[in-house]
C-alpha cells in the first residue's frame, strides 16, 4: 500500500472517559473502493467504541475472508485482529472468547462469508450465544472475485453483470432469530444515526449480538436493478422505530414524552430507549419480531433497527460454567493437578 495516512489531528480533539481521542480508535487507511459501504460501517464502529469509552486494546477483532473481512485493519489499530479463513470467523472467535472472557469480541463477516461458505458456523455460533458482536456487511455479492451473486441477493436482483439472480435469498437476520439469537438488529451503512447506537447496544449485550448491515457494493452491485443498491435501500427502508442507547455511566435523561418511550434495561445498567413506530411491535418478543420481519419482507421493505433483544440472557461461559477468571490467566497452580494426584490415577489403573 503506497498511501500514507495523514497523522495530523486537531490538538483539541475531545477525549472520552478513559482518556482516548477518536483517533486512537482508527486503523490503517482503507484499501476498499471509494464509496464502499463497508468504510461507513468501520467509521460507525470507531464512533461507537469511542463513545462507549472502551479501551481499544480490550477489543479483539476477528474476521473471515472477503472485502468485509479486510475491514478490521481499517479500525481499532490498537486492537489485535485476526483475519482467519473463509467462513470460519465464528469458530476462531469462539476459541478466542473461551480463552479470555474479559475482552470484547467484534466479528466482521460478509454475506458470502456467512450465508454461503460459513453458514454452518454462523448457525452454531448463534446457538451457543457466544458473547460477541457479529456484523455482516451485506452487499449481496462477492466483491473480491468481481461481483458474483451471493446467497443474500434477492430473486430478480441484477448486479453489474445484468443477469437476474434466480435463487431465493437467505435472510441472515431471520435465520438468527429462528435459531434463538438473543440480539438481532439490521441497519444500513448509510444510516449512521441508527447504526452507531445499534453497535453500542450490541457490544453491551451480554451474549450473541447479530447485526445485518446492508452495505452497497459501489463497484459491482449498485445498479438500479439491484436490491442492495444505495438507491433501492434508501427507498425501501422501514425502521422498526428509533432508539438511543445510554451507557451505564451516563445519567439517563430522556427528552421524549412519557409514554412514547419504552426502556430496555441492560445487565450492566445501560438503557436502550425505544421509540417504536408501531405500538403493536415489541422487540422483546421473538414472535412479534418474526412477524414484523415477515410483514416487511412481504411489502418489499428492508426492516431496520433493533429487531429483537433478550437482555437477560446466558452466554456460553455461563452455560458451560467456566470460571470467572479468563482461562488464559490460569497458571500451573490452577491447571496442573500435581504428581500426588497422578499417583492416585496410576493406582486406579493397576
Amino acid at each position: 500500500m503506497s498511501f500514507i495516512q495523514p497523522t495530523f489531528r486537531h490538538p483539541d480533539l475531545p477525549v472520552n472517559d478513559v482518556g482516548f481521542t477518536k483517533k486512537d480508535y482508527e486503523g490503517s487507511l482503507s484499501t476498499l473502493c471509494a464509496g464502499c459501504g463497508h468504510d461507513s460501517i468501520s467509521a460507525a464502529i470507531v464512533q461507537a467504541c469511542f463513545e462507549l469509552s472502551i479501551e481499544p486494546h480490550r477489543v479483539a477483532k476477528i474476521s473471515g475472508i472477503g472485502c468485509s473481512s479486510k475491514t478490521p485493519t481499517y479500525f481499532l489499530g490498537n486492537s489485535h485482529g485476526f483475519n482467519s479463513v473463509h467462513g470460519r470467523m465464528p469458530s476462531v472467535a469462539t476459541g478466542a472468547n473461551l480463552a479470555n472472557r474479559d475482552l470484547i469480541y467484534v466479528g466482521v463477516s460478509g454475506d458470502g462469508d456467512s450465508a454461503s461458505i460459513g453458514m454452518g458456523q454462523f448457525a452454531h455460533v448463534v446457538r451457543r450465544n457466544l458473547n460477541m458482536l457479529y456484523i455482516v456487511e451485506n452487499n449481496g455479492c462477492y466483491g473480491l472475485t468481481k461481483g458474483q451473486d451471493s446467497a443474500t441477493a434477492d430473486v430478480g436482483s441484477k448486479s453489474k453483470s445484468g443477469v437476474a439472480n434466480l435463487y431465493t435469498p437467505i435472510d441472515l437476520a431471520s435465520v438468527a432469530l429462528d435459531l434463538g439469537a438473543t440480539f438481532v438488529g439490521r441497519s444500513f451503512s448509510g444510516d449512521k444515526e441508527q447504526l452507531v447506537p445499534l453497535i453500542k447496544a450490541a457490544i453491551t449485550h451480554p451474549g450473541f449480538a447479530f447485526l445485518d448491515v446492508v452495505s452497497p457494493c459501489v463497484t459491482f452491485n449498485n445498479t438500479p436493478a439491484s436490491t442492495k443498491s444505495y438507491e433501492y435501500v434508501r427507498e425501501h427502508l422501514d425502521a422498526s422505530g428509533t432508539f438511543d442507547f445510554v451507557p451505564m455511566k451516563q445519567e439517563i435523561t430522556t427528552h421524549y414524552q412519557p409514554g412514547a418511550t419504552e426502556q430496555v434495561h441492560m445487565h450492566d445498567g445501560s438503557v436502550i430507549n425505544l421509540h417504536k413506530l408501531n405500538q403493536s411491535y415489541d422487540p422483546r418478543d421473538r414472535r412479534s419480531a418474526v412477524d414484523a420481519m415477515f410483514n416487511a419482507k412481504e411489502r418489499g421493505d428492508v426492516l431496520t433497527g433493533l429487531i429483537y433483544i433478550d437482555p437477560n440472557t446466558q452466554e456460553l461461559h455461563e452455560m458451560i460454567e467456566t470460571t470467572n477468571k479468563p482461562l488464559r490467566n490460569l497458571t500451573e497452580k490452577d491447571l496442573c493437578p500435581g504428581s500426588k494426584a497422578l499417583d492416585t490415577i496410576n493406582e486406579s489403573l493397576r
Binding site: P56, H57, R58, N78, H80, S91, V92, A96, N100, L103
Partner: protein, 617 residues
Amino acid sequence: MANIQSVNEFVIKFANVNGTGSASANNLFAKAVFRMGIPVSPKNIFPSNIQGLPTWYEVRVSEKGYLGRRGGVDIMVGVNAQSLTQDVQEVEPGGYFIYDSTKRLDPRLLRQDINFIGLPLTEICIREYADPKQRQLFKNVLYVGALAALLDMDFTVLKDLVSDQFKGKEKLVAPNIHALELGYQYAQDHYSCPLGIHVKTTNKTGDAILLDGNAALALGAIYSGASVAAWYPITPSTSVVDAFAKYCNRLRIDPGTGKKNFAIVQAEDELAAIGMAIGANWNGARAFTATSGPGISLMSEFLGLAYFAEVPVVLMNIQRSGPSTGMPTRTQQSDVMICAYASHGDTKQVCLYPSTPKECFDFGADSFDLADRLQTPVIVLSDLDLGMNDNMSEPLSWDEDRVYDKGKVHTEADLEAMTERYGRYLDVDGDAIPYRTYPGTHPTKGSFFTRGTSRDEFAVYTESGEKYVENMQRLERKWETAKSYVPRPEIIPGKEGGCRAGVIYYGTSDYAAREALESLTKAGLAMDALRIRAFPFNSEVEDFISEHDLVYIIDQNRDGQMRSLLINELEINPAKMIALINYDGMPIVARFIHGFIADHQGSLSGGQTGEQKTGSA
C-alpha cells in the same frame, strides 16, 4: 493330538456379538491376569456398529513381556454363532475352542486337531436368572468363571476386581460373583483342570499400569495446562475428549466457586473444532482438538493458516484405516504424509509418534510446550490400536518443578519498556522464532493483525515478492530450529560392533518390532533398530540410515508413507530402503516382521524365499 502346553505364554481370543455386555467381562479376564503379575495385551476388534455384529477381544498373555500381537490363537472363546466357522478355523493345532454347548455344535465345524470344550452357558443362565437382560449379561461372566478353573486363575483376584468394578453399586457385586462361581464350578466338575495352557501368579508387571493411549493423551493435556478442548465426535478419537472431560471434572474444579478451570465445546464439525483451538491458542490459552483421518482432511486449511500465521495449536490424530471412511474401527498409520505436509502451499507440520500410553502422556504434555515454543501446530499421531486398547505401560510421572514453556511472549512490562517498534514476525534472536503478544496486553503497544495473507515483519499486509520469500525462508529456518526441540529417536543396538542392516519403525509397531528383533537375533540375524519419535527428523535418523547398508522401514499403511517421507526429506537412495508394510486394519504382528526380514535376508544370500502376503494373520 499334542495339546499346546504353555504357562503364562499364549493368545486367547473372545468372539462375541457387540452390544451384549461382553466387553466388561472380557476386560475382567484381562485385568485379572494382569493382577496376577503377568503382562497382558488386550485388543478390542470391533465393528462400526452399536449392536448385533461380530466383535472380538484378543488377549496376548506373555510372561516374557511381549505386548504386540503374536499371530495365531491358542484358546478361542467362541460365543457368537455368526462367526463360529471362522473362529474354529483360527485356532492353532493343539489349541482349545470353548463354546456354548446349550445347542449342539454343527458337526461340520469340528476339527480333529483341536480340543472342544462345551459350557452350557445359555442353559445355566436360563435356570439361574429370570430377567432376560441378566440372562444375556451373565453368560459372559459365566465363561470368565469357567476360564478361572480351566486356566487356574486366582479366584480371589477376580472377586476383588468385581468389587472394585461395582464400587458404589454394591448390590451388583454378589450376583456377578455368583455367576463367576457357577462357571468355575461347571468347568471343575466336567473338565480336567487346569488345561495344558494355564496361568501362574508371578511378578512380571512391577509397577506397570493398564491404560489406553487416548486417556493418557488427555491426562498429558491436563497436566500441561490445556484449558480449552474443541472437538467433533469421530472414532477412534472420541475417547480422548471423553477422558479429558472425566479427569477435568475430577481435577480441575475451582475449589472456591465450584466452577470449571476448563472449557470443552463439541463443535459442529472438524473445521470449527480446529478453528476454536486456534482461536484459543491465539488468545493465550492452551487448546487442542482430537480427531482421526477424515477430520485431518477437513482441518487442513486451518493447519496451513496456523503454520503461516504462526499460531500454536495441538492436534491429536488417532489414526484409523483410510482412505475416506475406510475401515473406521480398524487401525492404521496412514496419515503420516497428510499430517507431515498438511495444507496447500509449502507447509510442514511438526509431528510426534508415541508408542506407549506413557509416551502418550509425555507427548500429550510436551506437545503444548513445543507448539508454544515453535509457534506452530503440533500433531500427535497415535492410532486406534494404541488409543482404544488398554496397554501395559510404565506408570505416568510428572516432575513437580516443571514449568510450562509458553515460548516467546511479550508481557505488558516488556512492551512498556520497549523503545523500538514491535514486529510480530521479526527474527530478533536469530532462531527464526519471533515474539508473540496476546490480545489485550497493552493499550498502545504490541497489537498486530494475524492473517493468512503475506505480510512483512511488522505484520503489515504486503504483496512484495521479496518480503514473501524472506518470510518463507524464515519459516524454513524455524523448521531447522524445530529439529533441536523435538524428541530424539530411540536407538536399539542389535549387537556389539553394529550391524549392516537396520530397522526403522515408529508408533505402535514398537511391540511387534521388538519381539521380532529378539527372535531375529536368536536366528542369527541381529539388526540395529531406530524408533522415530518425531518429524522433523533429527540428525540421529539421518546418521542411522547412512551407517547401514540396508534399512527396513516398518509402516502400517499401503504406501510405505514413512519410508517416502524419509526418502523425500533426507534425500536418500530409495534402493536401500526396504518397505515392510502391513495395512489390513489389524496391528502388525511379530511373526510377520520376522518372516519378512528373514526371507528378504535369505534372498540376498541366495537362499530360498518365502511368500508372506499379509502382516497380521
